[in-house]
Amino acid sequence: MSTLKDALTSALGENVTLRDAQYPNSVISCTVPKEKFVDAAKTMKKAFALLAAEWATDESPMGRGFGVYACYRWGAEYLIVKTEISVDDPTFPSLTKQFVPAYRFERQIKSLMGITPAGHPDPRPWIKFEDWPEDAWPLRKSFDPSKPMSRVKGEYQWIKADGEGVYEIPVGPVHAGIIEPGHFRFQAVGETVINLEGRLGYVHKGIEKRFESLSWHEGARLAARVSGDTTVAHVLAYCMAMESMAGCNPPERALWLRALFLERERIANHLGDLGAICNDAAFAFMLYQMMRLKEMLMRTNHKLFGHRFIMDKVIPGGVAVDIGPEGKSEIYNEMDYLSKEFEKLVAIYDENSSLEDRVRDTGILSAEMARELCVVGIVARASGLNLDCRIFNPFPPYGQYERLKLDVPVLVTGDVHARAWVRVLEVRESIRLIRWLLVNLPGGAIACPETMPEPGSAGFAAVEGWRGEIIYWLQAGLKGEINRCMVRDPSSVNWLGLEQSIHGNIVPDFPLCNKSYNQSYSGHDL
């Protein structure tokens, strides 16, 4: 039973062709003709679905043209709608009027794949830089990444604001702190921000293209490096998509260890973020104390699993490192200490009125706006959207609700405090989860023999990283190689939320607001 599938077939009837070879089977994939692509989106909008991702593929090795895919989510259901585009007429109807996040996805498709979204309000490139030649479309199979690209002249057209007293503040791409590069352009009147336009793409590394020249095994190592602070969740999503295509079921112990790594990653990053949010309000005490706790976790990671971020420890078919009884008791003791220290700091955060004055009512993303922008993860959960792949798209042990009783916090105010407080509640929950995982950890092998994906198939996986839902969509070529690897980091949609929530705030509150989002540049730019 699938609500989305029923809605789509009843609205479009015979125009919908269901496709097989899309794994896992719970994710439904169908093809509609190009002229029905927008109708499909309208139907999805009526069915209250959200747009999770939109991407394009070059299927010329399979003797086809291009494919444009839109992935919709409603609760636990994912539905992928594909439309095929001929090489002679590389255009497709834009979904931006139906779903706002398509705005960026489609600009990206146009920039990197060279397929034009007809009816898109914004013709400017995204990710692609103005000094790239007009016909340089890196994701097309005809593009040779080994040759240096020629450069041309060009200038990015920023949105302009006119009027008395309006001035612009360009910030970045190189920032004063040790963070990734991105450009933010503010239009302000006095101290009030009237518009913020972000521009990203400065850390574009051609990751999606690179996947296509790697073996499935090497691909896992690359996925672990898409966004360094989310290495576990990214590689996990890649592996799950690949395993679904290969029909490989990792042993239960491996899945539980993956969950353990995922929760440790979540705690470490949330601790760092909480400290950084307070530091941007000049409350540096919290930063150093939170960083101390984060460092403790990372050192334990290094000691027990061989890497501070647990990078490359999740592999296709399972995990690469096991945990012994000493390791278990070490983590258990660490969690006791962490939870004690963490509660002390949370009490300080909660009771300091000067801090409260800064974080409350700052940078509000309303629930309506959050829904409109289809944001995910902590940002969504701070604005009243109950989305968490650990509940809606779980893998064991998360699937065992009755035993696990996962409690996902959802707040409604959508301000900086809400985004911080969601993190606080999630850290508490993750500590509880880790304890539970350690006590109930099943025995057995930690990896299954590797099998390769079947040629021509496609795999999908969504994993709740600490920022939110990470989506991987893999497509195998005719020889069983990687034909396309689509990566959708939560940042791809959540950056839009930041731009909207800063409206009407004052300029000096932006850093605080930005920290409460803390989106990835690398995961977005790819």
Partner: protein, 314 residues
């Protein structure tokens, strides 16, 4: 001519220039301890200054003479103020030439030129910092004058040396108006020296800066002078507060033997004030920019109450 006042003057200015970085070092050290960190030590500000002095100056393309002149002017006004505010002794030849109103004006000149320099180079941050600084100045300066006038009324003079002299001669008594003035002065001093909760001296976030935003484009020797002047400003505000409200320890007229004693007391006072500053800074987050009007408005209100209570109660 008696060379003694001249020597005292020189000694006092030397004390200011040499001790100011150490005081900032002390504040930073305490702050590190309060946050549970190891500090870089008392002498780190000296090393920073040394580093900056040995670096080349990088001038923005469209910098005019204002940009190049401002660091020297700011440094000069602070040194001059150091010759007027009694730190070690009240035997200051410069003291009769300038009273406390002139000192406020001296700080205002430095601030005025810094704001001009911030706008001179034409970056968005410079202009933003200048506009914020001027907003603070327009609120802080009247409040500061009010607070100082209250003390002046109580001690029948606007000259700092004379105020200290009056307090020493026992003509001054503890008055309720002084406690209002003291509270107002503390709030203003936090704003004037750019400390938390008004400004964050150690931030790297350009969008939130006030004082730092104006001087973002400075480098090398220029930056060193401005940083040094900033340290002296903090030092001078502590010393001014001491002269107004707790002058004990400053050498009285003609007492050479009291100078070493004054040095020790000064160091002690600085040590204690460091603890006060750090306890304020560690426990508070920075205010939202537009809360500053309430903060400085409260300072003005307190100062006014002090003055009213002087007339009503005393």
């Amino acid at each position: 001519m008696n060379p003694y006042p001249l020597i005292v003057e020189m000694l006092q200015i030397a004390t200011l220039i040499v001790l100011a970085p150490a005081f900032v070092g002390w504040v930073r050290t305490l702050k590190c301890w309060a946050q549970g960190r190891t500090s870089a030590g008392l002498f780190q500000p000296y090393r920073d200054l040394d580093k900056l002095f040995s670096k080349d100056i990088l001038l923005p393309e469209n910098a005019s003479w204002i940009f190049r002149f401002t660091p020297y002017l700011v440094f000069g006004t602070m040194v001059l103020a150091g010759g007027i505010i009694p730190i070690l002794s009240i035997d200051l030849p410069l003291a009769p030439t300038a009273d406390v109103i002139v000192i406020v004006a001296l700080f205002a000149i430095g601030r005025f030129f810094t704001a001009l320099a911030g706008m001179d180079i034409g970056t968005a941050f410079g202009g933003m910092g200048s506009s914020r600084e001027m907003m603070i100045a327009s609120l802080a300066e009247p409040a500061m004058l009010m607070a100082i006038f209250t003390v002046s009324l109580a001690n029948k003079s606007t000259s700092l040396s004379q105020i200290v002299h009056v307090i020493y001669s026992g003509q001054s008594v503890l008055r309720p108006s002084l406690s209002f003035a003291l509270l107002a002065f503390i709030l203003i001093a936090l704003a004037e020296t750019g400390r938390i909760p008004v400004d964050n001296p150690s931030t790297h976030l350009e969008l939130t800066m006030i004082h730092e935003a104006m001087i973002l484009e400075y480098s090398g020797r220029h930056l060193a002078l401005i940083e040094w002047a900033g340290m002296m400003k903090l030092f001078l505000f502590v010393m001014m507060g001491m002269a107004l409200f707790a002058p004990w320890g400053i050498a009285p007229r003609g007492d050479i033997a009291a100078i070493p004693y004054a040095l020790v007391i000064t160091a002690l006072k600085l040590g204690v004030m460091g603890i006060v500053i750090v306890s304020i800074e560690t426990g508070l987050a920075k205010m939202r920019l537009f809360r500053l009007t309430e903060f400085l408005g409260a300072a003005f209100l307190l100062a006014t109450l002090g003055m009213l209570s002087y007339f009503i109660l005393d």
